[in-house]
Structures are given as structure tokens and as C-alpha cells.
Symmetry: C2
Subunit: 425 residues, 2 copies
């Protein structure tokens, strides 16, 4: 029996994955707990929602990633709490002991308490979310095509709430899907009536990006026909549309929420100070105050940047945090002092459609248009986990680019038991 | 306004697709009605169920197939009945007139009235079926891995009912998935305990194949460790296993039903003689008796071969039938007599795993082993609709072959509203 220290990593997103892969090199036993058996490559989720990629293309089985490390075990399950005093995580009825704990459980969509969001808006945080949205958008076009009446106002209108990277990328991809594919698919529909509206509370898109990129994104989206509404507050989502501050009501068959997240519900079980969106306050070395053996990374942590401002909830922060806590665990285990975490911003990117992207690189470099798009393609293929996924995504992208096609515009029934054994005729 | 004849095609599987593509060349208006917006390539469904291919790889959007033909319209919907006298198909509340009708609605899984099949067995007829089965098999391994008790008998046992091509192909692929992938994924489980059992009522596998192929399939499966039970009758499926005739009870966590189908429930609304499995009796030209303007093809028709025996319910019969009725509609429309349908058997194929397949070619040629497998690969890539699908499937196959990997072993939640906006923590 090994008496090596046991490290439990909760979550296998960007943060947990990078922590676990570094920890595997240490003389410790690592257990990774995740509610899903795959690592999702979330930056490409909007492409699954807009029929550019298949759902399996951005998922990679975690047992396949960790299989080559004899000291990493995988456990499928949802961690519901942490007993900090007993040093154990709680998975339903079971408790699992740890010597060191890495909390990397991420965030969930949050409706900020706005009326109707949870009931009527589509979040876009998981692969099932993306498939549900794809099914819904394609189904509204099918329903409009079958409709023999004069039609309902807003039948082909999609309202996206939130002008961050997900909202911007989704708006661009959706505008292209409609113009380039659905207009041809539905020749008997007046697809020019289809509208994509992007609602953003602040006076700019892409918070955290350079002003040049924000402006380029805005102009590109407007050129693609997206109705971008800046400084606009959503007050309510209903079954058939949204209400905006000032009294404007907009009919829409689809409302997508990308405006906000909050920390994984797991955070609620941990009695420490909470930051923005329910995140856990951490020390400079990313450990939990008073619990030097517990580290928190990624969207779950309210870390702070050099000026004390909160760190953005982006993949790079999670990746760097994961690597950093693995180093800190090695140091603590060796009896050395841990080191504070410093986030290095390697840049931000968002694609706005075919041959259009914005990229802010370190040193104030800014790319946009075709060059930005090539940079975006390269970086995303590079970071995509799994060689097969890289090839398949590359083939899909080459196909989409050369043919203007979106080949996965397939409505897959999600219903649990639907159509198992139909009644005999 | 056009006064051209209107042809309605119900279903866009192999039969409906081939009928519609031929009808598109005639001076008629064609409407294709399908409950799904995609054409599924069912011969590869078992590969989706065993994590070899992604669900989107075997689906092709029908609007993309028909988009280049101005005289084909697509309508998404379920045909619930046909008013033969009024010449109209019924889609819910709506009626659609036809001058000629092609019924190609296919078949559904049928439990043959065996107790517990509908409640506890997994059918494998649709893409959601395949995803449900993939999720279930992977989840049983995950659950066994988390189980701290001594385990439940049969936890890793899969029983497949029916020794036709689907049962044989699934058995071979599943045995390889377990041996080559899951054994490595679950190092702490004794995966050698995992069993694949194939139950067949008759004394041979692959009915309709040559005796050489039947024997080769049996030997190959047994060499892969599949427990093949010939001349064995299933009497009941329960929550935790199956009962076989003679009193044997077999514990199993997964029971898959590939033993029987019956005609689409639509057939029940049509007042003509019914053949095997509720199929519709047809004239020699594939028209409905007394209704020369209505044709029935594929799994929905009880056609007869040269000796009067029923035609097999396979893709080739549907494809040839579809082309034939398009020609007969052209002849009838031109005032000529229709021609009787003669099925040309171009051979049968089944793959049993890596470099193992059987193929019966015309003229009594039989291929097996690696050569049979190469033939199988070529034919299936050739017939797969959509150039993108061909490339992506080829990449996946090359990947699977070279790495022994099965990259889509991903458990995707199917639940309708699961995880939309989780409760705040």
C-alpha cells in the first residue's frame, strides 16, 4: 500500500485538467472527480450550437487523457460538499479523504434574478445546452416553414443577451448560418425576415478587449446584419420575447443567455468569504484562507489581478491557476513556502465569422479581419485536446470554409424515452 | 402556378431518398415528408452505439440533399394517416393532396409481445437509440467503478437479442470496445468479468447469408470472447437480466433488442391486406392493390422475391424499390404500363470488428477476414451520403484503426431540461 499523499481534484475543465496533468509528475496519488466523463472544449461550444461542429468533436473522454498516468484515478460523480475539518469531499453518500484538495468545479449560468430568464432563455454552458439550442433554432425554422397561417411575429428572431465573447461569437455564427445555409434550406420562407439581436448592458462589446477590437467586433457584426443594442438593459424574458428597459418589447422565438455565470453550487457549502458571483475568496497563493491544503482555481475562485481587480473568468486564468497550484502543492509537500499566483495575460481572441476575428496580443498588438481569424483558428486547433478531435475539427472547418456548408444542422431528439418501442399500428 | 402532378414521398430513408432523387428529374412537383430533418445512415448506427463514430457523422440534413432540386420541397412532420379516396396524406390537423404517393416510412422496433422487452431492453433503430445505448453502457462501467460493495451480478454483462447483421456487428464492436478501450479506462475494475452474450433463436447467425459467412461470423465472434447462444429463445426481460427458455436466468445490466421490427404505425391506417410484421401487401409493380397511384417500398412493403418468398428488410431492397417506383410513376404519368419490381441481390455484408468482416457477393463469391473488411469499408464509405460525412468517417476509422482508440466514448446527458440554470449555491 502506498502512503503517498492523496490529492483530490474536483472538476476536469481547463483548470482541473492542467492541475492534474502537472500533479501526475509528483510522487502523489491523484483522484480527479468530475460529473461528466469528458473534458469539454468550451471555446468552440457556440460552433456546436450553430451546426458547424458535431457534439462529439469538442468532447474528449477524460479516462483517455489520464489513462497513461498510473497515479491518476478518475471518479465520475458530483461533489456536493467539502468537510474542511475532516479533510474529505462528499459525493452523495460517500466521503473521500484528501491530503490536498484542488477545487476547480467552474461556474454555471446565472440569471441574475431577472424575471423569466431561467424559464425561457437558453443558457450555453454545456454540450447538451448547445444541442438543445441547435435543435430549437432549426426547429423554429421548420415550424415556420410548415405554418400555413400569416405567421407569428418574431418567429425567426433570436435575441442574445450579453456582449462578451460567447455572445459575439454566437451572433456572428448565427447570422452566417441563416444567410448562408438556412436561406437556401427554406426557399419558401422569407428568411430575410430572420433577425439576430445582440443586447449588451454596457456601451461596448467584448469587455476586457482593446478598444480597437471592441470597435472592430461591433462593425463586423453590424455589417453581417446583427442588430447590436448597446447600453440596453433586459428587464424580462417571456414565452414569446423579451422586454427591454424603457418599455420596448421585442418578439422572439429564441432567447439565449450568455450574460452571466456564478460559481458552481458546491461553493455554497464552503464557509469562507464569497466574492463576485458566489466565488470563493482565496489567498495570494490560491489557497483557501485558514486551509493551506485546499486550493481554488478558475471560475470558482475570486482571485485578484495586479491592481487588485478580480481576474477574468476565462480559460487562461484557469489553465495558469491549475499549473500554479500543482507547483504550490509540490512546494508545500516538500516543506517549502508556496508562491503567489500572477496571471499572465497572453491575449484574448474572439471570432465573428468567416475570415473575421479580433485578437489582442501581448504588447498591445491587435489583429483583426482575416489575419485575426487565421490566428484564432491556429490557437484553437492547438489547444483542442486529442489528436482525433483536432483532425475532425480541421476537416469540418475546411469543409465549412470551402463549401459554406454547415453539415451538422441536424435536429436530434433529446427526449429521454421517446420512440423506444412505438405502439403497434 | 404550376399544374404539374404532385408526388408526395413519405419518409426519407434509403427508399424515400432514392425515389425522390429520381422523381426530381421528372416534370413533377415532389414533396418529401419526414419526421426527422436528416437522412440517417443506419448501417453504421452500431458504431455510434459503440463510440466509434459521433452521432452527427451518420446523419445528413435532408434539406441539404434536396436543396439543389427546385422541384423538391421538404416538410418536417409525422404522417398519421392516408385518405386513399381523397388522395391526401394526413399530418396532424393538416391534409396534403397528392396525385402520386410513395410510402417509404420504414419500420420500428417490435417486441413481438415478449414480456419486459419494451420496458427494459434498448432498441437500436435511431440515432437517439444509439446515444442512449452508448450512454448506458459507459455509465454501467462508471457505476461499477464507483461501487465500493462486492458488486451486483451481471453488472458488466450485455445481452444482445437477435443474431442478424445488427446483433452480430454490435457484438463484435462491443467486445472490442471492452477489451481494447474500457479495460484500460477502468484499471481498478476486473474488466475480464465483462461479458457479451448474443442470443439467437435459429441455429445460425446472419439469416440470408451463405453458410460459409454464417460459420465465419460465429467463429470470429467466439474468438473475440462473445458468448453466442444459438437455438435459444428469450422468454422475458427484467430489470436485472433475462430469462431464457428452459429456465436459465442470466444477470445483465444491458439488454439490447435487435431481433424484430414491424411496419411503421402509419401502416395501420391503410385498409389493405397486411403481411409479415404489419407490412402492406403490394402488387408486383409495388403499387397498393386498387390504388395504382400509391406505391409502397422498403420495410413498409411486403414485397415478394422470385420464389414468392418475402423480400428481406434491407437497404438494397429499399434503394432499388425507390428507383423502381420513380420509373413506374414516370411510365404511368406518360400513359404507359408499369413494370413489375425485381430485386437484384448485390450481396450482403457484415463487419465483426477490426479486420474481420463477411461479404457474400453475387455469383457465390464469399469474402471474409481482412479482405471482407476492406470490401465492407469501401462499400460503406461509398454509400454514405455527404462528402463531409465521408471524410469525417474516414478520419475516425483511420484513427480507430491506427490507435485502437474509440474517441467518442462520451456520456452526453439526454435529459430535457437538466442543468439549465442550477439552483444558486
Amino acid at each position: 500500500m502506498s502512503v503517498r499523499a492523496r490529492v483530490v481534484v474536483v472538476g476536469s475543465g481547463f483548470g482541473g485538467l492542467n492541475a492534474a496533468l502537472r500533479l501526475a509528475r509528483l510522487p502523489v496519488e491523484v483522484t480527479v472527480i468530475d460529473r461528466d466523463n469528458y473534458h469539454g472544449f468550451w471555446p468552440l461550444l457556440y460552433q456546436v450550437a450553430t451546426a458547424g461542429l458535431g457534439s462529439d468533436d469538442i468532447a474528449h473522454p477524460i479516462r483517455s487523457i489520464y489513462g497513461r498516468f498510473p497515479n491518476i484515478a478518475v471518479r465520475l460523480g458530483t461533489v456536493t460538499g467539502v468537510d474542511l475539518d475532516a479533510k474529505a469531499v462528499v459525493i452523495g453518500e460517500e466521503r473521500m479523504h484528501y491530503d490536498y484538495l484542488v477545487l476547480a468545479a467552474g461556474s454555471s449560468a446565472s440569471d441574475f434574478g431577472i424575471e423569466g430568464v431561467a424559464e425561457h432563455a437558453f443558457p450555453l454552458k454545456t454540450i447538451p445546452d448547445a444541442l438543445r439550442l441547435r435543435n430549437h433554432i432549426l426547429s423554429t425554422f421548420e415550424a415556420a416553414d410548415s405554418d400555413r397561417s400569416d405567421g407569428t411575429p418574431g418567429t425567426l428572431t433570436t435575441v442574445l443577451i450579453g456582449g462578451g465573447p460567447t455572445g459575439v461569437e454566437l451572433a456572428g455564427a448565427l447570422a452566417e448560418l441563416i444567410e448562408r445555409n438556412l436561406a437556401g434550406d427554406f426557399r419558401h420562407l422569407d428568411v430575410s425576415e430572420a433577425r439576430v439581436v445582440l443586447v449588451e448592458l454596457s456601451d461596448h462589446l467584448l469587455p476586457g478587449f482593446s478598444e480597437h477590437s471592441q470597435q472592430a467586433a461591433l462593425e463586423t457584426l453590424r455589417r453581417k446584419g446583427v442588430d447590436v443594442r448597446l447600453e440596453t438593459r433586459l428587464t424580462r424574458v417571456g414565452e414569446r420575447g423579451v422586454d427591454l428597459e424603457g418599455g420596448e418589447r421585442m418578439d422572439a422565438s429564441t432567447v439565449v443567455w450568455t450574460a452571466g455565470v456564478r460559481a458552481n453550487p458546491l461553493a455554497g457549502s464552503i464557509p469562507v468569504e464569497r466574492g463576485r458571483g458566489g466565488t470563493l475568496a482565496v489567498e495570494a497563493d490560491l489557497s483557501l484562507p485558514g486551509h493551506p491544503e485546499v486550493f481554488v482555481i478558475g471560475d470558482l475562485a475570486s482571485g485578484s489581478g495586479p491592481g487588485g481587480e478580480p481576474l477574468p473568468q476565462v480559460a487562461q486564468v484557469a489553465i495558469q491557476g491549475g499549473k500554479h497550484v500543482a507547483r504550490n502543492i509540490a512546494r508545500r509537500h516538500a516543506g517549502k513556502r508556496t508562491r503567489p499566483f500572477h496571471y499572465h495575460n497572453h491575449g484574448s481572441m474572439a471570432t465573428i465569422g468567416r475570415r473575421a476575428a479580433v485578437a489582442d496580443l501581448p504588447g498591445g498588438f491587435v489583429l483583426s479581419g482575416t489575419v485575426g481569424w487565421m490566428a484564432w483558428l491556429t490557437v484553437h486547433l492547438w489547444f483542442l485536446v486529442g489528436f482525433r478531435n483536432r483532425i475532425v475539427v480541421f476537416v469540418n472547418w475546411a469543409w465549412n470554409y470551402l463549401t459554406w456548408d454547415r453539415a451538422t444542422r441536424v435536429i436530434l431528439a433529446q427526449g429521454g424515452d421517446a420512440r423506444r418501442f412505438p405502439p403497434t399500428g
